[in-house]
């Protein structure tokens, strides 16, 4: 490293890949783009793109999020965090690409915008990605999505991240449905209410009640400032 000649070290392309999750009609969904060209033409891939010369990977992720969802970053009120970096030498047959993967969560994102290299972009139900008629996934994106899903499930245990999936104001049942949807099983609703209300500043009640569905009018809440759930609200481990 005496001289900084490019031949001293291998050059890499660096990209970001985004796992953008939302809950559409009670179904946990992820945004994927259909690749319009080789390699993996016709396969589905995570949205993403190259990190620019004058931005870090966080900024690149915000930029791509905006480009793919059409939501301006100033209007984006969800959550974005780095997941993990994937760097296998042959993960992209064209060249050496290191990808910094991100997880984004947001409520009710609009229908996606297809980008330059994408023939199509749409929300996929997560449960449809790994079953019988699963779409073909490009690159190592199946692995990335699996890791991202586990991250989201785990973070619901000890953070208030579930709030990112609901729009204010919401009912406690709305929040409970988030846990049910993401975890794939329903925690006891009565115990769930007790837990959420016992965490200081997880949610705060409003003066209003919802209407429409049969039954009593449920109280509406807004998000509180708490970020950590302590003690954690754990999933069952057998």
């Amino acid at each position: 490293m005496e001289n900084y000649n490019p031949h001293d070290y291998p050059p890499f392309a660096v990209t970001v890949d985004l796992n953008i999750f939302t809950i559409k009609n009670g179904v946990l969904s992820i945004l994927l783009v259909n690749r319009g060209e080789a390699p993996y033409e016709g396969h589905w891939a995570l949205p993403g793109g190259f990190v620019g010369v004058n931005e870090n990977s966080d900024a690149a992720a915000v930029r791509e999020l905006e480009e793919e969802t059409g939501v301006r970053s100033s209007d984006f009120n969800g959550h974005l965090e780095q997941l993990k970096t994937y760097s296998d030498p042959n993960r992209d047959p064209r060249m050496r690409v290191v990808s910094v993967a991100y997880v984004a969560l947001a409520p009710n994102l609009p229908e996606p915008v297809a980008g330059d290299d994408a023939a199509d972009a749409r929300w996929w139900a997560v449960e449809d990605l790994f079953g019988e008629d699963a779409p073909r996934l490009a690159f190592d994106h199946a692995t990335i999505i699996t890791d991202a899903l586990e991250r989201v499930k785990a973070k619901l245990e000890y953070t208030t991240l579930a709030l990112q999936f609901v729009t204010e104001p919401f009912t406690l049942n709305d929040l409970w449905r988030v846990y049910t949807t993401v975890w794939g099983f329903a925690p006891d609703l009565a115990n769930f209410r007790r837990k959420v209300l016992s965490v200081p500043n997880f949610v705060s009640p409003t003066q209003d009640r919802s209407t429409g569905s049969p039954g009593p009018r449920p109280l509406l809440y807004v998000s509180g400032d708490a970020e950590i759930i302590y003690p954690p609200f754990t999933r069952h481990h057998e």
Copy 2:
């Protein structure tokens, strides 16, 4: 991305940086190298190096671990995991470098081996890194070390990672001292014993007892296969 001309995307160097922790004489310590050249000449830096053309970042981290500690990867019985990727455009003034940071834990590593670009390499007590007479740290490595420390502290709560800091056979007090050292406070020893012994396969007893210190001969244990502590053994959160 129609053509793969290098001018279509910015070229990056990709490195790994290793947070190698061990407990020396009851003190949580991290391996740092003193930089022998600009930039940050004379500052202390995390050991690391470039990711090679035909390896992924995990392999590069294993290779660097071996080079810096002198421990062959086949003999390395500690723990290595990816932490986070750091990519600020100006984190290295020479060129655009993206660094994939790792955390390694091991018991009783030998004195380090200085590499090519390191004038010196030594173990630093973690508590000395951020105090009055703290060494000057190169690049964004102070940030990386802070993140790494928090990762280790957190993982002691819900994984059996503390086992990576002791050599077999060990006493329950040895293991308790790991928690005390890493967390910076002493959990109740009696409750600690109860907790460790209640987690199936966290540790398993041997037939032997230790000797030397005053008091009864403590039973010796070896590591079990469990990786998860459930329910977690939590630090206090006020």
